[in-house]
């Protein structure tokens, strides 16, 4: 799987950084999503998928292999 983050859609609610802090961060200026890795390790996959599901703005998606 590969994660995609659309920073134009992001509204900086922080659900991703809260749910999967190993995978998502927020930039300092506007709090928009920053992908720390496009391909999360096995230990972070579950949290990353949960974050995609919880994202309020629909800025996150998953590309399956």
């Amino acid at each position: 799987m590969r994660l995609i983050a659309d920073r134009e859609v992001c509204i900086g609610a922080g659900m991703c950084a809260l749910t999967a802090p190993d995978v998502f961060d927020q930039d300092e200026r506007e709090g928009r999503v920053v992908l720390l890795t496009e391909v999360p390790g096995p230990e972070s996959i579950e949290a990353a998928e949960e974050a995609v599901q919880l994202c309020p703005s629909g800025a996150l998606s998953v590309e399956r292999d």
Binding site: G14, Q26, E28, E30, Q53, S57, G58
Partner: protein, 405 residues
Amino acid sequence: MTDTDIPHGIPLDRETPFDPPAAVMALHRGAEMRRMTYYPSGHLGWLVTSHRLARKVLADTRFSSRMGGPAQAPVPMAGLEAYADFEGDFPVTPGMFIEMDPPDHTRLRRKLTGVFTVRRMKQLEPRIEQFVEERLDALAAGPNPVDLVREFALPVPSLMICELLGVPYDQRDRFEADTATIFTMDGGAEAKEAAFGRLYAFITELSVAKRAEPADDLLSDLAADTELDDAEVAGMAMLLLIAGHETTAKMIALGTMALLENRDQWDLLRERPELMAGGVEELLRYLTIIHTGIIRQVKTDFEFEGHQIKAGECVTVSVQTANRDEAHFIEPDQLDVTGDAKGHLTFGHGVHQCLGQQLARIEMRIAFSRLIARFPDLRLAVPADEVPLRTDQNFYGVGELPVTW
């Protein structure tokens, strides 16, 4: 309740302190979405009650945040009658981006999101801990029994938002009472307008002072932003101030009462403090203090879930029923701090999801954790049915919470 019954607004009267009104749960069981008439004009709109559709509506910007204001309300409020014939979109107070759609909403919200990130809020933890400990010290040294709302639940978030914004806490009598008035549904139109006016003047006065003499706070940053005009700065600051203390205060007080009345849950959190982060989510879900729902209006005709929705029709999302939806949560009518409350909609969903949610989470986590640790034997000082419940405010909660130890 059948799926074709048309209620007049959202029922507010409760049978028990922690559960949504039985009447609104009956509407939810009857249909995910139904017609509903609105106050004061009798406008025929919609009510959405399921978790699935609540998420869909809130994530879809075709459901606009621009609407008729007091001309279309899902609950009765004093003074609405004056707007019964009003048509079109109600004027927005500049800066009040919760009443705007993208791109206006986006432009203003992004001025603030950098301040409320998960990391920035985490940096505030030591300060929140200090506020909480100071209030608990005062509690321990003061009279017993005491009103927990006044001495703890309200001061903690109020102190924090004051510090963040740069509002002097010793001037709280200039915003706390007026905020409560604004949120009181039967408070009277004139009283509410007067309260709004005073609050607006207070904030404007402060932002002018911050522009002349900037400090290290959010209001100074907003006042110095050349892309924002004076009215926008005042509106944004006012929004942060009123949204930043009343809501969390209600949750801390009602959450404490819910834990005291479910003593096994209180004890569980006392014995296993690591459960607190999940416990806070569960309290947010279970108590859903936004009991009047979230209202939107559609601007074009379209089909949604088999229903033809027409331009101008309002759609209210009942968050309290969505958070008790058995299709999404396991045993939703139980308060279970070990349960999985993820996906609750208490902070909303979509582009308007609560800006201050990461602050609210930390404030609640620290407040409940320290309260339980320092006062493990805390109990209600009056019978539970004598605790005054406030169903007459936009955010549900207790008016006061007499406790003893």
